[in-house]
């Protein structure tokens, strides 16, 4: 008797559960059958929350607004969009069950105070706003602007551009060129063959390193600041105002030119030009070293190296 009641209950439970299971299975089949996916939604995100976006190819465009909300418009050709949101984090990514897919497009609006992390393989990334921004691509271009906090940008072959960054920039490229404009805070930029151009910077610590890429620096100089530029065969051009600066420039086989008077240090090694000189009483320490590149120190606006 007891066993019979148990069997009936099990059967009833199974019948009750079946309608609930069917839609889920159908939904899953529909997902698999889609050749494209689309998301149009707006969700809440706390101040200082994190937005994570990742994709393979296509394009990412991020803007910001003064609302604690994230608006997402995303489409993918043949890929399955994966969206996850909580009060403090929103993430969007794409995957393919079949191993191939077309382009994916993200248009996302984030709170001005949100932290943004976005990664791509070949997709271009463009962002405007955000507190801290991290943007990495393998071959896509990365363009960021109006970051109130720190920015980290990386690409292997894509171009990197950072404009109006409030609290420091870290940039890394292999062959792509890097342009930083109006960056405040510490700057650390590295490249192998790409050119590094920093303009209108307001930093007390700047460090650049290239192998064959040229380097150009322009901006204000903090008397207590430290500025280091290293290269192997790339030229280094420094447009430095005549505030107190102590220069230490060193090249093995390149030339050194300066708009400011300079003296060759006694004891410099044969075939190597090592010069230390100060302007306006010294202060900020500016070091430029290159093996075979040329080093030019010029007054701002007196450039003889404009393209």
């Amino acid at each position: 008797m007891c066993a019979r009641v148990y069997s009936i209950l099990c059967l009833a439970a199974l019948m009750a559960a079946t309608p609930a299971l069917l839609p889920a299975q159908r939904h899953h089949r529909d997902d698999d059958a889609d050749v494209s996916s689309r998301i149009d939604t707006t969700v809440a995100l706390s101040s200082g929350g994190v937005v994570e976006l990742s994709l393979i190819s296509g394009e990412v465009k991020v803007t910001s607004w003064n609302r604690d909300q994230v608006r997402i418009h995303a489409t993918s050709d043949g890929g399955l969009l994966q969206f996850d949101a909580s009060g403090s984090r929103v993430s969007l990514s794409v995957r393919s069950d079949h191993g191939d897919m077309g382009d994916t497009e993200y248009e996302v609006t984030i709170p001005a105070g949100a932290r943004l992390s976005t990664h791509s393989v070949s997709a271009d990334i463009t962002t405007d706003g955000g507190s801290d921004v991290e943007a990495r691509s393998v071959s896509g271009d990365v363009t960021i602007s109006n970051v109130t906090g720190r920015a980290t940008i990386e690409s292997v072959s894509g171009t990197l551009k950072a404009t109006h960054v409030g609290r420091g920039l870290r940039a890394n490229t292999v062959s792509g060129d890097l342009t930083g404009n109006d960056v405040t805070g510490d700057i650390d930029a590295q490249s192998t063959s790409g050119e590094i151009v920093l303009g209108a910077t307001k930093s007390s610590f700047v460090r650049t390193q290239t192998v064959s890429g040229d380097t150009r620096f322009g901006g204000t100089v903090d008397r207590a600041g430290r500025y280091e530029f290293h290269s192997h065969s790339g030229d280094i051009v420094l447009a430095v105002p005549s505030t107190g600066v102590t220069f230490d420039v060193n090249t093995f086989s390149g030339d050194v030119q300066s708009d400011y008077p300079m003296t060759l240090q006694p004891g410099s090694e044969v075939g190597q030009k090592h010069m230390e000189f100060s302007i306006n009483g010294g202060g900020a320490r500016v070091t430029a070293e290159t093996f075979s590149g040329d080093i030019t120190v010029e007054r701002p606006g007196h450039s003889s190296h404009e393209d």
Binding site: D84, E154, V174, V211, H232, T246, Q272, H274
Partner: protein, 254 residues
């Protein structure tokens, strides 16, 4: 207080990572799911989140006075012009801390690199590697082939006083070479996962770096005591390791 996915102890352990946004999505979902079901943990999460939010809203504190200019004045030694002939002797008589010598700095850099590479190796070995194709990395061979002929660089002096014995000698260039070889093998495995354009860019830039390494070594062979040239060589080697490490961690094209 045991959740299907997360216990309260696991919740406590993962909470700081959750607040720092470093939890993976699955763990994050499990933590949030547990918080929904557990009163104690939900209250804890609400409290800590409120504290975090309040702390983030606090203004930045400025020191009452800036000490840096005073420090700079004390450490900024004037450049003293010395006669050429007397310079070497003067250099020898100047007692410089061991850690400011070029060789210990290079050794320290190499040890740092070794640690970094080890982490990279661990990170990359935890995920299954793709099919191993191999295109030769001819670009990196100069580092691995010419190790034996390179000068060894004295290691930093030990903290324990070592009276009457010579300082240990650590072949820094050999450390660089072995780390580069390790990373290079990872990169070779990863090539099939990257698109051909990216691989071409990487190979071209590895050749540029190898050329820089070769030029620095050639100059160093003529002037083995040049600190500047040692720095140039180390910079180029560091660039190579940085590039290989970047490649090892690149996302696959699919």
């Amino acid at each position: 207080m045991i959740d299907q996915l997360f216990t309260c102890d696991q919740f406590d352990a993962a909470l700081s990572d959750y607040l720092e946004s470093t939890l993976d999505p699955a763990a994050r979902a499990a933590l949030e799911s547990h918080a929904v079901r557990c009163d104690r943990c939900r209250a804890l999460l609400a409290d800590v989140s409120a504290i975090t939010t309040s702390a983030a809203a606090l203004p930045e504190l400025e020191p009452s006075r800036d000490l840096w200019p005073g420090i700079v004045d004390r450490i900024a030694a004037p450049v003293v012009t010395l006669p050429v002939a007397g310079r070497r002797a003067a250099d020898r008589s100047f007692v410089r801390p061991w850690y400011l010598e070029p060789a210990p700095l290079a050794a320290a850099a190499a040890l740092l690199i070794a640690a970094t590479v080890s982490v990279t190796l661990l990170a990359t070995r935890t995920s299954p590697s793709g099919p191993s194709t191999v295109a030769s990395t001819g670009a990196s061979t100069p580092d691995t082939q010419s190790v034996d002929s390179l000068p060894a660089i004295p290691a930093p002096a030990p903290r324990v006083k070592n009276v009457g014995s010579k300082p240990n000698v650590v072949p820094v260039q050999q450390i660089y070479a072995s780390e580069i070889a390790e990373l290079d093998s990872i990169v070779r495995d990863r090539r099939s996962q990257l698109d051909t354009g990216t691989v071409a860019v990487i190979e071209k830039n590895l050749r540029i770096i190898d050329q820089a390494i070769a030029q620095s070594r050639a100059a160093l062979a003529r002037d083995p005591n040049s600190g500047f040239l040692h720095n140039q060589l180390n910079n180029a080697l560091n660039q190579k390791i940085a590039l290989l490490r970047t490649v090892a961690l690149l996302p696959a094209r699919t």
